[in-house]
Point group: C2
Chain length 327, copies 2
C-alpha cells in the first residue's frame, strides 16, 4: 500500500453543511436516527464531499440501552438523558437482551441496506457499537458526566450486579453486530469512550474481558477497538482478536506500536489540530503518518469537533491521500 486509508470519526455530522441542512429541517437528533433514508443520506455525505476511504453508518451508541428497554432523550447542547437508570438486580432483570433486543433495531439495519445501495461499493461501510463498559456507564449514571462516579460506584459496591449488566449488554451487542454484518457492514468499530476514567484494575476487570468476548464472537469482518484514554491497558487490548486498535492523541505512535505489536493502528491527530492553518495541518499530518508508518488507518484521535472548519478537514484528508510511504 502506498498510503494509509483515511476517514474521520463523526465525519457524518455538523462539519458538513449538507448535514446541517438536513438536521435543521428535523425536530431533533433522534428523528434523524429513526429515519433510515435520512440516516443513509448523511452517512454518504462525507464520501461525496470529502472523498474519504470509508463510510460509517450514522447512528448512536445508545441504541443498545434503548433496545434493552431504557429510552433516552438527546437534549440539545447537553447530551443524552435517560428516563430511568439501572440501580438494582431487579432493574437488570427487567431489561430485554440478546437477539430479541437487537432485532428491535430494524431502523438501523434498513439504514445500512439503503447506505450500501447509495455507496454502490465505492468504499466500505463501518458499523459500530458502544463498548459494554461505556454503555453501562450511561445506563447507571443516566446522563453524561465528568466523573461517571455513580457508574464507577457500582463497580466498587456491587461488582456482581455490574457483571450481570455487562453480560446482558455484551450479548445484545454481539447479536446487534451480527445483524449489522448480515445487513451489509464491512467492518466493525467498538467505541469505549469512557475507558480513560477507570483505573487499570477496573478496566481489566469490567471492560476488557467483555470487549474481548465481542472480538472473539465477531469473526465475519475486521474489528477496530477504540478505547479512548486506556493507554494503561494498551497491551491488554493488543491481545484481543481484533484487527486494529484506535489511538487517541495523548498516545505517542511509538508507544502504541510497541504495545500493539502487529495490530493495525488507527488515529491519532488531535481534533483541535484542524483549527490551524493549512500549512500546519499538512506538516503535522505528514509527521503523524511518518510516525505510524505502515499498518495504519489515518484518523483523528477522537471524533471531529462540530465547529471544525470544512477546509481544515479537507486539507487533512487530502494530505493523507497525497502521501506516499518513503520505503
Amino acid at each position: 500500500m502506498e498510503r494509509p486509508p483515511v476517514w474521520l470519526m463523526r465525519q457524518a455530522g455538523r462539519i458538513l453543511p449538507q448535514y446541517r441542512a438536513i438536521r435543521s429541517s428535523l425536530s431533533g437528533f433522534k428523528e434523524l436516527l429513526f429515519t433510515p433514508s435520512l440516516a443513509a443520506e448523511v452517512t454518504v455525505q462525507p464520501v461525496d464531499e470529502l472523498d474519504v476511504d470509508a463510510a460509517i453508518i450514522f447512528s448512536d451508541i445508545l441504541v443498545i440501552p434503548e433496545c434493552m428497554g431504557l429510552d433516552y432523550e438527546m437534549v440539545e447542547k447537553k447530551g443524552p438523558l435517560f428516563n430511568q437508570t439501572i440501580q438494582s438486580s431487579k432493574d437488570v432483570e427487567q431489561l430485554i437482551s440478546g437477539q430479541i433486543a437487537a432485532e428491535k433495531l430494524e431502523y438501523v439495519f434498513e439504514a445500512i441496506r439503503l447506505t450500501k445501495d447509495l455507496l454502490d461499493n465505492r468504499v466500505p461501510l463501518i458499523g459500530f457499537s458502544g463498548a459494554p463498559w461505556t454503555l453501562l456507564a450511561y445506563m447507571v449514571e443516566g446522563s453524561g458526566s465528568k466523573t461517571f462516579s455513580k457508574a464507577k460506584r457500582l463497580l466498587y459496591k456491587d461488582p456482581e450486579l455490574a457483571h450481570k449488566l455487562l453480560n446482558a449488554i455484551t450479548d445484545t451487542i454481539i447479536a446487534y453486530l451480527k445483524l449489522k454484518i448480515k445487513n451489509g457492514v464491512d467492518t466493525i468499530q467498538l467505541f469505549d469512550s469512557w475507558a480513560g476514567i477507570l483505573t487499570p484494575d477496573l478496566y481489566n476487570n469490567f471492560a476488557a474481558p467483555y470487549l474481548a468476548k465481542i472480538c472473539k464472537a465477531i469473526d465475519e469482518v475486521p474489528v477496530i477497538v477504540f478505547a479512548k484514554g486506556a493507554w494503561f491497558s494498551f497491551d491488554v487490548l493488543a491481545e484481543m482478536e481484533c484487527e486494529a486498535l484506535g489511538v487517541d492523541w495523548t498516545i505517542d505512535p511509538k508507544f502504541a506500536r510497541k504495545a500493539a505489536k502487529d495490530k493495525i493502528l488507527q488515529g491519532n491527530l488531535d481534533p483541535c489540530q484542524l483549527y490551524a492553518d493549512e500549512k500546519q495541518i499538512e506538516s503535522k499530518t505528514q509527521a503523524m503518518l511518518e510516525q505510524f508508518g505502515q499498518g495504519h488507518i489515518a484518523n483523528l484521535g477522537h471524533g471531529v469537533y462540530p465547529d471544525t472548519p470544512l477546509n481544515g478537514v479537507k486539507t487533512y484528508v487530502n494530505t493523507v491521500k497525497n502521501y506516499k510511504y518513503s520505503s
Copy 2:
C-alpha cells in the same frame, strides 16, 4: 519513616458536615473564599475531624485570573463562568500581572495567617496555585469544558499570543506563591488539572516549561507538581526542580516510580474507591501503599468527590496511619 503522611485533595469541602454547615449559611462559594476567618476555619476542619497530616488552604485556582483582571462567577452545579475571556493580544495587554496583581490577593494571605494561628504547628499548611496552562484554559474558554477546544485552538492558531499570556500568568503565579510563603505556607502544590487533554507536543511546549519556571523560582519550600492525565510527560515532569509529583489513578505506581526516579510520589487511590465498604477500602489502600513503597505521600488520584461517605474517608486515613512499611 514508618508510614507515609496522608492528606486528601479537596479535604476542606463538602465531605465534612462542618463545612456544609458554614457553606449553607453563606450566599455562595465566593463569599467563603473572600472571608479569611471562614476560609481559615474550613481549612482546619479536616485536621480536627480526620486527623490528616497536612492542611491545604481553602481557596480557588481562579483567584489568579481574577487578580489579573478577569472576574468570574461560580455557578452552582455548573462551575466557573467568566464575564470576559482572552481572545486577542490587546486582551492580554489589558491584564495586570506579576507582583501588582498578586498583591491584590490579600484576603488569601490573611486566611493563611489565621490558619497558621489555628493550626498552631500541629501540621504543615499547603498553599497552591493552578498551573499556567490550566489557568489559560479557563481564561480563553471562559468556563469549564469537556474538550477546552477554544483554549486548544489558541495554542494551534496563535502560539505567540498563547506564550505571551502564559508568561503573564507565570509571573503572577510566582509572585503570588512567594507572598503565600512569606505569609506562612510550608509547601506548595501546583495543579495542572487540564494537562490530560493536551498532546505530548502541546504539553511539552505550552505547559511544562512554565511549570519548570515556577519550580525553579520557588526554592523556599518543597513543591508538589500534580499534572492530572499527563502520564505521557511524566519523564519531563520528573526533570523539574520540585520535590514531589502527583499521580492520578490511571497511572500504575510502578510506571510512576520508573519515570519519576527519586522524586517523592503523591497519590493515587481512585476517589470512587471510597464508596466501597470498609474492608475493601482497607485492602486497596494497603495495596497502594505497598506498591508505592517509601518516598510516598498518600492521597487520592484526584480531589475527593463531594458525595463521598465520611466513614469511607476516615477508613482511608486511618488505614494509612496504621500502616507500617514492611522493610
